[in-house]
Symmetry: C2
């Protein structure tokens, strides 16, 4: 895999345009970092004033630089940045980092300036990162084009962020506790280079083993999903698949607002984002501590092969809290065998509780930690270990870190460590990280680290199925149904058209038709066979049951004509439909909507009145594989009810899966359809099928 | 309110029994802390070796001390502690702190030693704290009987903990960031003084304004609830009500196990504990960071009057994460009025985004923080403010802390602050806490602090209703029904007896009876009126529907006799029951079980097959008030369905509330009943009532 951003991380020379001799200016900081953080290529400061800064000759313009320039860092005000980018283009510079803010995030004028930047770059065959960013770092190259004072050490984590502040904060933390990075990429407004480009670059980078992304807007969600999927599933031409952790701001109503006012970016709905993570094999997290806690775990350790954890501790209370936290992560305490406990009794201090947690009480010696950890990582019943150590006056925490380090390094099982405390434990944290043991300040965060590894175990062992085979569809008929609604100026298909569309895609639908008169209704009912349902068809009525527009279980001609007269108003029509052919069916919902960022989003859950109240629903992005569809069913309560509870016989899950696949195919093949609901889909006993008795189809705003 | 533990915190003299001259021994640490942490009474070291330690004369025995001794701290091995306690008793000491471990937490031998300690104390009219504890602190008295090196400063938080390690860790953190405590009580094994005693003492302490409890076992859950309720609801004779935060380890299966192996204490079920917190008006938290984050918020600030928050920041990304976090706390971003935004534009740096979050971009000056905060706390549309500051090279974080402090102090609205960073922000954190602004390391934790205040707002404004009036019950008949089962050697009442018991307590039950023959069944069906249900009655069959033992909707004699023949085996009987008199009723469950620690626990949720799959259930402790019952209904999806969705007419919620109250009364009045389920309770339209068609009653193991 080729790194299309290679020049940003391995330029032979860098021009710093707009640098200043004033040491408190950010533009001075960029030059200082390039010089002091080890960059070995040529550095060309540019400032119209000329002179010398930090011992380097200052050029008065980019044109004046005698040698080739690979990368330009432009630190000028927003209104001067375009001109400088143009000058770089003319000078043959192919890569630029734009630091200035005052672009898309401040409104229409800024967006116009962004368009100009893009035009300049395209015309000159350049790529640029930013604007409104803090630059990039590669710790192996090494190069640091940011103005952030601390540069992290070498490590396995590639970090890409829309927010400069999140970059700065994360690097601060990392330096303090000794967590290393391979690359840091501050994307800013991603006018040219965007999140997907950055992910591809990190996929190609041999030093990046874990990718961490802080995301605000994703204007092209589908490219993001594709790039993330390439990263996590080992593209054939690149080395290894890499775990990916992603924090997206703007997942809640308040957060969306914060993102909107911050970058003007459109934030997608939470469910669509989570479905995108699932599709991509990325691990979503909710806040900054989860971001760093996950990254540390994945950078240090392999995932466990099972959920059974051991706790090794000198403190009962904190390890009880840690046990609860493990449980909340879907992990649990291993049952230690009598053999394991006997081995522990031999080496641990007297009084040690050799159950799990293994509590060595007040003041165990460092070598007792070493030996007990050896026993635990070798015990077949243990899949991973969490050390919970509360510093005692007698043993410095650093000694414990050094004591457990080599054991942890010699095992594939995950070992994480919580040592509580303030500044006094920083050395211990650094020693732990040096030995590939992630350190956490609290038991709950250590448990979260293990939980991330467990989640990654599931992702890594997931079978990545091909898309499901499509069924042959009479495309012409499908398009006619959509066009009929369009030509009527309606966004919603009527019940009959919706039902026919569903049938076109192979969904089981009861016989139905539209009747303009009571007599026509009776005729349709005869053809359908009794009992039938009769539903009012009127423009603007979507949830028909809410308005008394539905009568079910009509058993003869008189009842049908009577119902027609009562619920259908003059000029309206009635939708007459055979009742679903099974008794006691379970009502579920199968639906889809087209997400602006991620495309078609499929939904499954309990149907009828329950869907809105219980919110028992699962989401996935289209196209669905059969495995996706089965997963959706299995993760809901509706799925459990379909399997049968309390001795009920199972219902036709295969028919539900088939319905999900067909709706997925429909959404992929008919980009005009914005939303579709089969609610309810009535599911019979195994073999009886699943019937879509109410199909609602909404078209997009334009015919595209 | 009298503080029954007053002597522990205000002794005129303290004997330290078993103190050592060796400075690395814990027993030396206790003496050192008493001396150096400001205790002003007399201190008497006791050690058979005599001599002098830290300048004080050492007595060879407690008897030898010439003056009265109010408090003894005993730091001897487990097997010597009892003897020393006895000596103290004979010397007239009325209060003792026992540090040694090796008691109930190590098994049967230890529990025996605990019983001896209790016997000694009772006989000598003494109280003691521990064993297996680290002692007590009162920062106002002041007195520190622990061996923990750092003593926290004066403050509003009273902290009580079963775990010594949690005490030590919390004090470490508190000292570092400048959070003060009023009292710290390490309870250890709570053989004499227990959690409820400690809560009563903190209720009486004038310096304690917030109570924080770390809880492992609660052998007497009901006393805990009573004491916590006294604390949070202002007992008439004491000053003010106090917020209470409680972290209980052992709420999950893994955590329960960790607690069991740690202290041998029985941990209650999570739901019972949460119901106990609800009853007591205490705020439950899940881990140590939530414990300190909640305590800090409650110690510093008053709760908001509404959920609308403003964020004031210099960093877009972190404040977007903070916005999401606010939303997850049930808070949201305030809509800032055009007036507020105009005021902000006047004082903030150019380019400031005056929507919410108010983003002053890179480097605002401290006085701009002051002025912007003034505008926000005075804006009527803002209920509270979260400051999110990412340190910049130009302005030290401490300057920002000092700039916002006085404004925050002058307003009742909550103001919290997140300044990210490592050691460099400790001074800022101390300055913030000095100005009553809680400081948090991440936006999510700051949002959690505000969330705690919001939860406390709800608790404080909650109407505390009296228990609901009981109905008159034919107690004699109820007892006969229970005794009949007992005398048969059964723990489960049969369907008829269960139904009769429910009817005795005023619940609506359909007419029913037991039939030994098909003919008897038909006779009962005639009396009930068709349609009827027929259910097999056999010992050991609890969920009848699971075994094909139920036939519903029988409409005539033949059908009844036929059903009897098919499902009832020789020697068994049939339960014949009128069908619920409403069509299309909603099935809910009303149930109760007797929790070992907290007593009867009521449950409400969706009934039938749904209850086990959807787990849509609410729990409360008995006795229920009407408000409790209405809350239970309102917080479930079942409640929403009862209210009517999609234009359905509402169902009989009053009848459900009545059923809950009657089951609560039954559980209170019949201690023999261990569990009762009305599943389903079929709820008709408003006015139609709610019918218990299947009543399952289980008795306790012994007749008591």
């Amino acid at each position: 895999m080729i790194d299309l951003l290679h020049t940003f991380f391995h330029p032979r020379s860098v021009a710093v345009i707009g640098t200043s001799a004033n040491p408190i200016k950010l533009s001075h900081g960029v030059l200082r970092n390039l010089i002091t953080h080890g960059y070995s290529g040529s550095i060309y400061p540019v400032n119209p004033k000329g002179g010398e800064i930090l011992g380097l000759q200052v050029y008065t313009s980019i044109a004046e630089i005698p040698d080739p320039v690979d990368l330009a860092v432009i630190i000028l005000a927003a209104d001067q940045t375009g001109k400088a980018l143009e000058a770089c283009g003319q000078r043959g510079v192919k890569a630029a980092v734009l630091i200035a803010s005052g672009f898309g995030e401040v409104g229409a004028g800024g967006r116009e300036r962004e368009a100009q930047l893009l035009e300049i770059a395209r015309r000159n065959d350049m790529r640029f990162i930013g604007p409104n960013c803090v630059g990039v770092i590669d710790t192996y190259s090494p190069i640091d084009t940011t103005f952030v004072r601390t540069m992290p050490g070498k490590g396995a984590i590639g970090f890409v962020s829309h927010s400069g502040a999140v970059c700065g904060g994360t690097m601060d933390w990392a330096s303090a506790v000794g967590v290393g990075f391979s690359r840091v990429i501050s994307l800013g407004n991603q006018v040219d280079v965007n999140m997907a480009d950055a992910l591809d670059s990190l996929a190609a980078d041999p030093h990046t083993e874990v990718v961490v992304a802080y995301v605000e807007g994703l204007p092209d969600g589908q490219r993001f999903v594709e790039a993330a999927t390439r990263l996590t599933t080992a593209p054939p031409s690149a080395g290894t698949r890499k775990p990916m952790v992603v924090l997206k701001a703007g997942r809640t109503p308040s957060g969306t607002r914060a993102v909107a006012s911050h970058t003007g970016a459109l934030a997608g709905a939470d469910q669509a984002f989570l479905a995108a993570c699932h599709r991509a094999g990325a691990i979503p997290v909710e806040n900054l501590e989860q971001l760093v806690d996950s990254a540390t775990a994945l950078a240090c350790r392999q995932p466990p092969q099972g959920p059974k954890m051991a706790i090794l501790t000198n403190a009962g209370g904190p390890s009880a809290v840690g046990s609860d936290a493990l449980d909340r992560q879907g992990l649990s305490l291993a049952d230690l065998s009598s053999q394991t406990q006997a081995q522990l009794r031999e080496i641990c201090p007297p009084g040690t509780m050799t159950g799990n947690p293994v509590d060595m009480l007040g003041g165990p010696r460092p070598e007792q930690f070493t030996q007990a950890l050896e026993v635990l990582v070798e015990a077949p019943e243990v899949d991973g270990v969490m050390i919970v150590y509360v510093p005692q006056a007698i043993t410095p925490p650093h000694d414990i870190a050094v004591a457990v380090g080599p054991v942890a390094e010699s095992t594939q099982k995950p070992v994480v460590c919580n040592i509580a405390g303030g500044g006094g434990i920083r050395a211990a944290a650094r020693a732990l990280h040096a030995h590939s043991i992630p350190h956490y300040l609290t038991p709950a965060r250590a448990a979260f680290g293990l939980g991330t590894l467990w989640r990654y175990h599931h992702i890594r062992s997931r079978h990545r199925p091909e898309g499901a085979p499509a069924v042959a569809v009479e495309q012409q008929r499908a398009r006619e149904l959509l066009e009929a609604a369009r030509s009527d100026g309606r966004r919603a298909l009527d019940s009959q058209a919706g039902t026919e569309l569903a049938a076109t895609y192979g969904l089981s639908t009861p016989f139905s038709g539209l009747a303009a008169t009571a007599k026509e209704a009776a005729k349709l009912a005869e053809r359908a066979g009794y009992p039938v349902a009769l539903k009012r068809v009127a423009p603007g009525v979507v949830h028909k049951a809410d308005t008394g527009g539905v009568v079910l279980g009509l058993t003869d001609t008189d009842a049908v004509q009577d119902a027609f007269t009562h619920i259908v108003r003059p000029g309206e029509r009635a939708f007459v439909q055979q009742m679903a052919p099974m008794t006691n069916g379970l009502e579920v919902i199968v639906g889809a909507q087209r997400d602006e960022q991620f495309g078609p989003l499929l939904m499954f859950g309990l149907g009828g009145a329950y869907v809105e109240v219980l919110k028992d629903v699962a989401f996935r992005l289209a196209p669905l594989s059969e495995a996706d569809a089965r997963e959706m069913v299995a993760q809901t309560a509706a799925g459990q009810l379909l399997e049968g509870v309390r001795g009920q016989s199972p219902r036709d899950v295969d028919a539900v899966v088939e319905a999900l696949l067909r709706v997925s195919q429909l959404m992929v093949e008919l980009p005009d359809v914005d939303e579709i609901d089969l609610n309810p889909l009535i599911v019979g006993q195994a073999g009886e099928g699943a019937w879509a008795v109410d199909v609602r189809v909404m078209l997009g705003d334009s015919t595209g």
